[in-house]
């Protein structure tokens, strides 16, 4: 029960910004305002503001060819991690159950 409250807390923390931050109307240049951009990209833009002349001196060796492929790889990364955590929870639960039954039987 305690865990469920904690997990609800996480969902609320994720949903609240979605509700709080609303898209503002497009500026005078008619460009759509982007919201929920990656903080990493914003830092990149800030670098060009602080030091306009800076040129990155190394390019990524491989870039995902599209946003879709990138999403796929991120999902793969999350699935790998979540899969293992689930495997541990499953085996740990079963082990605890088995130990309980043997204790009762003895």
């Amino acid at each position: 029960m305690k865990n469920i409250i904690l997990l609800i807390g996480v969902v609320v923390l994720m949903a609240f910004p979605l509700w709080l931050v609303q898209k503002t109307a497009p500026g005078p240049d008619g460009k759509e305002v982007e919201i929920f951009k990656g903080a990493d990209d914003q830092a990149k833009e800030m670098i060009s503001k602080v030091q306009p002349g800076y040129q990155p001196w190394f390019k990524p060796i491989m870039e995902p060819p599209s946003g879709e492929v990138e999403t796929c790889l991120f999902a793969f990364q999350a699935a790998l991690g979540a899969g293992f955590v689930g495997y541990w929870l499953g085996t740990a639960r079963t082990r605890a159950k088995c130990e309980n039954t043997t204790k009762k039987a003895a």
């Binding site: 305690k2 865990n3 904690l6 997990l7 807390g9 996480v10 923390l13 994720m14 609240f16 910004p17 979605l18 709080l20 931050v21 919201i35 929920f36 951009k37 990656g38 903080a39 990493d40 914003q42 830092a43 990149k44 800030m46 670098i47 602080v50 030091q51 800076y54 990155p56 001196w57 190394f58 390019k59 990524p60 060796i61 491989m62 870039e63 995902p64 990138e70 790889l73 991120f74 999902a75 990364q77 999350a78 790998l80 991690g81 979540a82 899969g83 293992f84 955590v85 541990w88 929870l89 085996t91 740990a92 639960r93 082990r95 605890a96």
Partner: protein
């Protein structure tokens, strides 16, 4: 907290690489030794790695209107000690640098330093401190994981401010700008990471009480083995 490929001047990139290398080396040594002595802890090492993989793949929206991700390194730091997280962080950051063009090889050292060294060491120290002042178990875990997460992003801001000081205001002005992007965005995410880490530790306490006691995370009185 990913500094993009090529976005640190060469001198800084090399400097952070040199600073991170001994931690990764020592971390590998401690992990290897631990698994040789206590092979039964292999499963939990997997859980610590997996937790970092999941959390660093989740880009969550924040109140600042931008997205960032938690790090998940507090869990492993509390379980295995902070040094163990350096090689684990390296694996995750390398995966993202090579396949996702997220972070990079030239910025790997700096990114390891923030996510896999400063974060875990902070989490570990905060956990021990909170235990010393006898906060409840869940509170200790929450503070350690959340503040470790936040300090990772503060470190990234420091790294960028050092590399790109503001022409007028110098380091301080530049730090304020980068921290405005990273640290502020991170506050709700750090809270989320703290809550999720508490959930995992509740399960660990229930299912792996012997290991937790063996790792000196909890005392014998707190868990019934």
């Amino acid at each position: 907290m990913h500094i993009m490929e090529g976005f640190l001047p060469a001198k800084h990139a090399i400097g952070w690489g040199v600073a991170s290398a001994p931690f990764v080396g020592y971390g590998l040594y401690t992990v290897k030794k631990r698994i040789e002595e206590k092979p039964e802890q292999r499963m939990l090492l997997g859980v610590a790695t997996a937790f970092t993989l999941v959390l660093s793949a989740l880009k969550m929206p924040s109140v600042t209107g931008s997205c960032s991700h938690p790090t998940g390194t507090g869990l492993g730091a509390i379980l295995f000690g902070p040094a163990a997280m350096a090689p684990i962080g390296l694996v995750v950051l390398l995966f993202q640098a090579l396949l996702l063009a997220h972070g990079g090889l030239t910025t790997l050292g700096a990114n390891i330093f923030s996510m896999a060294i400063v974060g875990p060491f902070a989490s570990f120290a905060i956990y021990r401190l909170a235990r010393m002042v006898k906060l409840p178990f869940g509170g200790c875990i929450f503070l350690a994981a959340a503040l470790g997460d936040l300090l990772t992003y503060v470190t990234t801001s420091v790294q960028l401010a050092l590399a790109f000081p503001d022409p007028a205001g110098g380091f301080a002005a530049s730090f304020a700008k980068f921290a405005g992007i990273f640290a502020v965005t991170q506050v709700p995410l750090a809270i989320s990471e703290g809550l999720l880490t508490v959930v995992v530790f509740n399960a660990l306490k229930r299912f792996n009480p012997a290991e937790l006691q063996d790792m000196k995370v909890v005392s014998a009185q707190e868990v019934q083995v």
